[in-house]
Symmetry: C2
Subunit: 81 residues, 2 copies
DNA sequence: CAAAAAATCACAATATATTGCGATTTTATT
DNA sequence: AATAAAATCGCAATATATTGTGATTTTTTG
């Protein structure tokens, strides 16, 4: 996911929860200005800023291998260990 | 995931790939200093910095609902739409 | 349509991430 | 143990995110 997709996900999630930017701002401690920028896919938030927002609206961040690498990894697994 | 876990995942992934910090730094355009900080769970990288690193080592970022919320959502789904 | 709420914008001040450089420490290799 | 490679650290300079304030626009509500 890139910033644009992340911003959309946050906005959508906020919509599902039915909570305003102001509320998320106050609960997360992130300013409304910053929240607006993130939701719009602008700016370049610091990780903690993003994590604070995500945590507030019940989302978490995960890391997964890119799809591109799945097959390669699947092949390697047979030879490894 | 928090910064510490993210840092560990990056370090582990780099180990699996068998590539040095210097190499990842040059490929990603992120300075070694910053990479060191991220891997050690220190600092507070900007999202693009993190994405550049992840992209270089074949990891991607995903957002998922926190487990805590699964049940609530399952209930709501019946009423929605 | 009018009023209220929510979202967006502009801007200056402040906080903080990022970088390059060189040095140092730790780890791997022979 | 000696050498080389990799990882870590310190620091000053620079770039950039964050914030609060107040205004403006957009959307919702009655």
């Amino acid at each position: 996911m890139n910033l644009k997709e992340i911003g959309l996900a946050i906005k959508e999630r906020r919509g599902v929860l039915g909570v305003s930017q102001r509320a998320v701002s106050e609960l997360s401690g992130v300013s409304v200005n910053t929240l607006v920028a993130v939701e719009r896919g602008e700016g370049n938030p610091q990780l903690f800023t993003l994590l604070d927002i995500l945590d507030t609206i019940g989302l978490q961040l995960d890391l997964t291998p890119k799809k591109m690498y799945y097959e390669i990894e699947a092949n390697n697994n047979e030879k490894q260990q």
